[in-house]
Symmetry: C2
Subunit: 147 residues, 2 copies
C-alpha cells in the first residue's frame, strides 16, 4: 500500500492551525490555505480586528497571496481549504478567481454563501464536511469565551 499523506484532512489540519492562530489573537477563528499540486502556496487567518478591516477574512488574504505567488489573478488549478463556509464577499472573490476546488470545514447557516444566495463560478467544485467537527468546535469555543 502506498502512503498517501496529502489527504483533505492533512491540508484542513493546516488551515485549522491558522484558525487556532487567529483564536490566540482574539480574532474569529477562521483559517485558510491554498494548495497547488500538493504544495501550500498561501496560508492565512482572519485578521479583521487587528487590521480594522472587514475585508481581511482568511480567504481574501489567501486569494491575494496565492495570485501573488502564481503571478496571475486566476486560481484555476488551485484548491482552497477553509475552516468555515465562506461569506458573500469571499465567495464573490472566489467566483472571480475561477478557483478549481473549495474544501470546507464548518458550515455557516447564518452568513454562509449558500444561505445568502451567493454564486460560485460554475467550474468550481465544492466539498463540505472535512474535519467539520473540529472546525466547528473551535468557533463555538471562541463565542463561548466571548460571552
Amino acid at each position: 500500500m502506498t502512503m498517501q499523506p496529502f489527504t483533505h484532512e492533512y491540508f484542513m489540519k493546516k488551515a485549522l492551525l491558522e484558525a487556532e492562530t487567529a483564536f490566540s489573537k482574539d480574532e474569529i477563528p477562521v483559517g485558510a490555505i491554498v494548495v497547488v499540486n500538493n504544495q501550500i502556496i498561501a496560508r492565512s487567518h482572519n485578521l479583521t480586528e487587528l487590521l480594522h478591516d472587514v475585508t481581511a477574512h482568511a480567504e481574501m488574504q489567501s486569494i491575494t497571496a496565492a495570485a501573488n505567488y502564481l503571478g496571475g489573478k486566476y486560481l484555476k488549478d488551485c484548491t482552497l481549504y477553509v475552516t468555515l463556509e465562506p461569506c458573500q464577499m469571499c465567495a464573490g472573490a472566489l467566483y472571480w478567481s475561477q478557483i478549481s476546488k473549495i474544501i470546507i470545514g464548518a458550515q455557516d447557516h447564518h452568513r454562509g454563501y449558500r444561505v445568502m444566495g451567493t454564486q460560485l463560478h460554475p467550474k468550481t467544485e465544492v466539498i463540505f464536511g472535512v474535519m467539520e467537527e473540529e472546525c466547528s468546535q473551535l468557533i463555538k469555543s471562541f463565542f463561548t469565551k466571548k460571552r
Copy 2:
C-alpha cells in the same frame, strides 16, 4: 440662495476621475471614493490587472482605506460613491462594513449585486443613476477599445 457644492454629482465626478485613471492604466474603468461629512477619506480605482488580484476592485480598496483612516472597521457614517454597480464580492464587503449609503453610477446587469442576489446590510441606503450616462459610457469605451 446658499451655494451647495457637495452634491452627489460633485462626488461622483471625483469617483469618475478615479475610473478614468484606471482606464489610462488599461484596467476596467471603475472608480470609488468614500465620503464622511463632505470630506473624501478614501479614493481608489480598479487595479486587478496591475496587481494580478481579483480582490483589487475599487470598492474593496476604498473600504480598506476608509476603515484605516477612521481607525475602525465599520463605515456606519460613510457614503461610498462608485461608478459601477458593485459585484457580489464588493457588496458582501459593504454588507460587513454596515456602510450608511452607496451611490451608484452605471448599472451592471450581468455581474452586479442585484442580478446576482447579493444582500446588502439592512441599514444601507442605495441610490442609483447618479451620472449614469457618463459612468456607463466610460466602460463601454473601454470594451470597444479592447475588441
